[in-house]
Amino acid sequence: MSNVVIRAENIAKAYQLGQIGSGSISRDFENWRARISGKGNPHVRINEAEDEPFNSTLFWALKDINFEIEQGETVGILGNNGAGKSTLLKIISRITAPTSGKISGRGRITSLLEIGTGFHPELTGRENVFLNGAMLGMRRSEVKKNFDKIVDFAEIEKHIQTPVKRYSSGMYMRLAFSVAAHLESEILIMDEVLAVGDKTFQQKCLDKMQQVSKEEGKTILMVSHNLNETERLFSKKIVLTNGRISNS
């Protein structure tokens, strides 16, 4: 068996353009009536095939995406704003389903698309570590085992019993990153979360990621804008332009 941990085949994702409102309910209704009566869909353009889910109100955020990622690789996903980077990460993290295509893979995924998702402001740092860990799919015992390391890395020992609503944004992000980085998953997915935080901590995070990928063999997928800082980290790049892969 090969070492491929993620294989994407013909991934495509369409979004509906325009507003959802009374206009879309009449369109929904006509589509539905057309389907029931077996007549053609009135909203498909004349030259397009009926069965293809292509219609004038759709926007294709991703199309024909094929790639393979092997274990232990650190993959940078690059591209301009609106190229489909975040959409691709959302599909791999199962936040939204692709319109067509298939991704298969092996191993648990931890995705960090935003700093501190699910942190509850009223709960203490400690309570939030357990809550956040569970959201990322970890057992209580697994979080407990790594708890000291998490707090240590985030440098917030003094504040761990304080509600996170009183944290500074730096403390907040350090804690959130630390939880995700110390979890025992095989694949780590990150959107541009390192943009926050000061230079020293950014460097610390990059070093940590390098360490987990080299020593623990974790696979990392990461969106990046700031090439200078992160370029040396990547062993592979996927460059997206207007929803398609333009090199790899």
Partner: protein, 279 residues
């Protein structure tokens, strides 16, 4: 769990309910319940005592308005006990429905950033609301002892043992209807307006403020159509010895709540994969 294989496809079977995933994420269920219960009392002085105040005040108002002013029958039971039995059960159902009906809207920021089986959230809500119900049940039992000591006329019947079944029925109804509404309001939010006052009106179609025996013969069927009616009646029959308990009404409520829960899970499951693009 390690090195487990997975696939992401564009469509999923309607009846592929992902129960295995929910079991895998059971730790999250406990954490969410823990969060809801903890966060509720933070920075309050009285904490859970607040849950006593609402049913006590409602009971006082009901006793005054419906009992004393309007003179609605309570089947010969002490009025506060009669109303309290209705109120706490209705409250649990209404709270379950209310909170789970906005589950996608309230958690969109989480669902949009991290994956876990989303059904866990409404399930955790229906369980954490149960903690409030338990507190109110204690209040009811305390009143029961006080009235017993004062020599009021009521008695506990063996149907009281159906109590766990009743809680399951209420939870299924509240959760089931709630997630049906949550699934229906993703694209068109109109239904959400109905929930708040609809629940209030619906209360009058169950036997919270009057016994089924006091209802006009030709309208009885309408009141019995609401599955919450027989839940409340069974509760009253079990704890107070007065109420309209029949095997067929129990069976009706059981079947309806199971069907509603099942429909809810299917509907929820259908929309959860791509709702984030529409909401």
């Amino acid at each position: 769990m390690q090195n487990k294989e997975w696939t992401i496809k564009s469509d999923r079977n309607l009846f592929d309910l992902q129960f295995k995933e929910i079991v895998n994420y059971r730790h999250l269920l406990f954490q969410l319940i823990n969060r809801d219960v903890l966060a509720l009392y933070k920075q309050t002085i009285l904490g859970p005592i607040w849950f006593f105040i609402q049913p006590i005040l409602t009971t006082v108002v009901f006793t005054f308005v419906f009992g004393k002013l309007a003179g609605v029958s309570t089947d010969g039971l002490p009025q506060p006990l009669f109303y309290l039995a209705g109120i706490i059960n209705w409250n649990y159902f209404a709270e379950c429905l209310n909170k789970t009906s906005t589950v996608f809207k309230d958690n969109a920021h989480i669902f949009g950033k991290v994956y876990f089986p989303k059904l866990i959230v409404p399930i955790s809500i229906s369980i954490s609301v149960l903690s409030r119900y338990a507190i109110q049940l204690l209040l009811f039992l305390a009143c029961l002892f006080i009235y017993h000591y004062k020599g009021a006329q009521f008695h506990i019947t063996p149907i009281f043992f159906a109590f766990p079944l009743m809680v399951i029925m209420m939870a299924s109804l509240g959760l089931g209807l709630g997630i049906i509404i949550s699934a229906l309001t993703i694209k068109y939010k109109d239904l959400a307006f109905l929930v708040a006052f609809g629940l209030q009106l619906l209360m009058y179609t169950t036997t919270v403020i009057y016994p089924l025996s006091a209802a006009p013969e030709n309208l009885k069927w309408l009141i019995q159509l609401n599955p919450m009616t027989s839940v409340i009646e069974i509760f009253r029959y079990g704890f107070l010895g007065k109420g309209d308990f029949t095997i067929s009404s129990l069976a009706y409520s059981l079947i309806t709540s199971a069907l509603i829960l099942f429909t809810g899970v299917i509907a929820f499951n259908r929309v959860e994969r791509t709702f984030i693009d529409t909401i």
